[in-house]
């Protein structure tokens, strides 16, 4: 499934948060959205997810406008993966994943065998079946993030939108979670994730969307977009770029 954003603009009163943002993400693409804090990344996601509706422009999924879709219809096409959080009540990992099937089940019934199977498959797919009956608030941040990804998979949407999936994770969990995300893209999911780490974006993403002051600053492959100039413009820092392993990894060394 492709997701296309056309001339999207959004403002809170006189504050123009997003100005004419346009891009397309296709099947199997992992798009990293880069930009400093408060630049409109979250607002962009909220518009795409239908959480904000008073925007100009449009979001199309396989050519269909999301504006006329109900919450249920949109949920079957686009899933959102928040940062790992602590809910008010402790659910088992399995119950948390099962909630992803809300859009498939009628309002007055509970999930059936098909949904239960989906949840078990998603746990197995992310290699966290052993956490099935643990409490969601009692597992590690990386495991919580994987649980939320599993929840998005049972939603059966093919577009996944992730808000800084690795921001609160330790180094090992960052790599493990990113490896899972990359393999989902290789399976054909369309993934859009925001990140604060340009080297991580370079390593995993196959498209980069850089946003500055609510506008698209750069859009393209990691190799052609991620350079010293982009880092200076986005974050106001001078860096040296060192390349390793045939330029599959780029490390940014700040100029101190």
């Amino acid at each position: 499934m492709s997701i296309q954003v056309n001339n999207l603009s959004f403002s809170y009163g006189d504050n123009h948060v997003l100005k004419d943002v346009s891009f397309t993400a296709n099947d199997g693409e992992l798009m990293a959205v880069l930009g400093p804090n408060g630049v409109g990344k979250s607002t962009l996601f909220r518009c795409m997810l239908g959480l904000l509706r008073e925007y100009k422009g449009e979001t199309l999924i396989n050519g269909e406008s999301t504006r006329d879709m109900s919450a249920r219809e949109l949920a079957r096409r686009v899933a959102y993966i928040p940062q790992s959080h602590y809910p008010a009540f402790n659910y088992s990992v399995f119950d948390m994943v099962l909630m992803g099937t809300m859009a498939q089940v009628s309002s007055i019934s509970s999930p059936g065998k098909r949904q239960l199977d989906l949840a078990d498959k998603a746990l197995a797919r992310l290699k966290i079946s052993h956490l099935r009956n643990r409490g969601y608030t009692q597992i590690s941040g990386g495991e919580r993030q994987l649980t939320l990804i599993a929840r998005a998979l049972v939603q059966e949407a093919k577009v996944l939108i992730m808000d800084e999936p690795t921001s609160n994770l330790d180094y090992g969990n960052q790599l493990r979670v990113m490896a899972e995300i990359k393999s989902l893209a290789e399976e054909g999911y369309t993934i859009i994730e925001s990140t604060h780490s340009p080297d991580q974006a370079f390593m995993y993403a196959n498209r980069i969307l850089a946003i500055l002051d609510g506008q698209v600053l750069a859009l393209g492959s990691p190799r052609e977009t991620i350079n010293q100039e982009l880092i200076r413009k986005l974050y106001g820092v001078d860096v040296e770029i060192h390349s390793f392993k045939n330029d599959s990894i780029r490390i940014f060394v700040p100029d101190l």
Partner: protein
């Protein structure tokens, strides 16, 4: 702490045990009282309603059983069930484990309605209806204000609930101040303490319809309530219209609270303690939590009502007892190890 890990019972077994306990509590409540009914007579009277049994009991016994004890048992079960269901529902939709049936002002509104009706020397029916109507209007006002609050809707609701509740409590205090201290003031005070004494069939019939009207949707929607505990945005991206679902659940929870409070007065703690007790037994998943909470609430209030009827020569208002039992029990629950999810 070296505590033995207790084996968790499956949900089906827990519900079965609770159901058996409920039946046991009902049988016990039939027998206990100022006019004791022995087991043999109880069985005979009950069977005589289905089969022809030669009466070996006196008529008073049958009268006590059906006209006095039965309505009271049913009402105790229903009120316990409703208050627990409402507390469970409010906790979920307000994402707040400390929520109880009075959090959006249902109780303080009912108290004001009842006090006002007593002040104007109205009969007991008017007191009930006035309490019911004021309870619903108070929550409607809280929702109206909460929806207009800036920022997070759930927080807006809780804050406006606190504000409107304290406003109505002040109004109730004022009614008490101007009430006639020889008869009206004791009547108001007694009503506020909560009691199931003197339950009549009429009261039961009045309460049962709004109760059913609230309990049935709460049961049907119970699995969806889970997603509201995660917040509106997440719920919406999973395909649930959070604002609409929350409003429906709040209306149902308020309906059963208003119906309960209007016929029984203020019975505190049940709606906070029982949901947490149920959470410890079957976990936080509303699919299991809601039914368990409802049955447990019925058992609890029925047993406490037996204490209220039988402990002393005079009847102890049940609201006092639920507070006496509820508070220490809650402390036990929150300090106990081994949370289940």
């Amino acid at each position: 702490m070296g505590m033995k890990k207790r084996k968790k019972l499956p949900y089906g077994t827990v519900v079965l045990i609770l159901f058996i306990l409920l039946v046991g509590a009902v049988i016990l409540s039939f027998m206990l009282g100022r006019y004791p009914v022995p087991p043999r007579e109880l069985l005979g009277i009950l069977l005589s309603k289905v089969f022809t049994v030669e009466p070996f009991w006196n008529d008073t016994m049958e009268l006590v059983l059906f006209n006095i004890r039965l309505p009271r048992i049913l009402l105790a079960c229903l009120v316990g069930c409703c208050l627990s269901a409402a507390g469970t529902a409010y906790q979920g939709v307000l994402q707040n484990p400390m929520a109880a049936p009075d959090i959006l002002g249902a109780s303080s509104g009912a108290a004001f309605g009842a006090a006002l009706a007593i002040l104007f020397n109205r009969n007991s029916w008017t007191v009930i209806i006035s309490a019911f109507v004021f309870s619903l209007m108070t929550v409607a006002l809280v929702i109206f204000i909460g929806e207009r609050s800036r920022g997070k809707k759930v927080l807006g609701l809780i804050l406006s609930g606190i504000m409107i509740s304290s406003l109505f409590s002040a109004a109730t205090s004022f009614v008490k101040l101007v009430a006639d201290p020889s008869n009206q003031l004791p009547a108001i005070t007694y009503w506020l303490m909560g009691s199931l004494a003197g339950t009549k069939r009429g009261e039961l019939l009045f309460a049962v319809f709004p109760m059913a009207g609230g309990l049935i949707p709460l049961l049907l929607l119970r699995w969806r309530i889970n997603v509201l505990t995660l917040g509106d945005d997440e719920a919406r991206t999973m395909g649930v219209n959070a604002a609409a679902l929350r409003t429906i659940v709040i209306i149902c929870a308020t309906l059963v609270t208003a119906a309960s409070v209007s016929v029984s007065g203020m019975i505190g703690w049940v709606g906070l303690v029982i949901p947490h007790f149920a959470r410890r037994m079957v976990g936080n998943n509303y699919k299991h939590l809601m039914p368990a909470s409802m049955i447990l609430g019925a058992i609890f209030l029925l047993l406490v009502d037996n204490v209220s009827r039988n402990l002393l020569a005079m009847e102890i208002p049940i609201g006092i007892l639920t507070a006496f039992i509820g508070a220490p029990f809650f402390i036990y629950l929150i300090t106990r190890e081994g949370e289940r999810y």
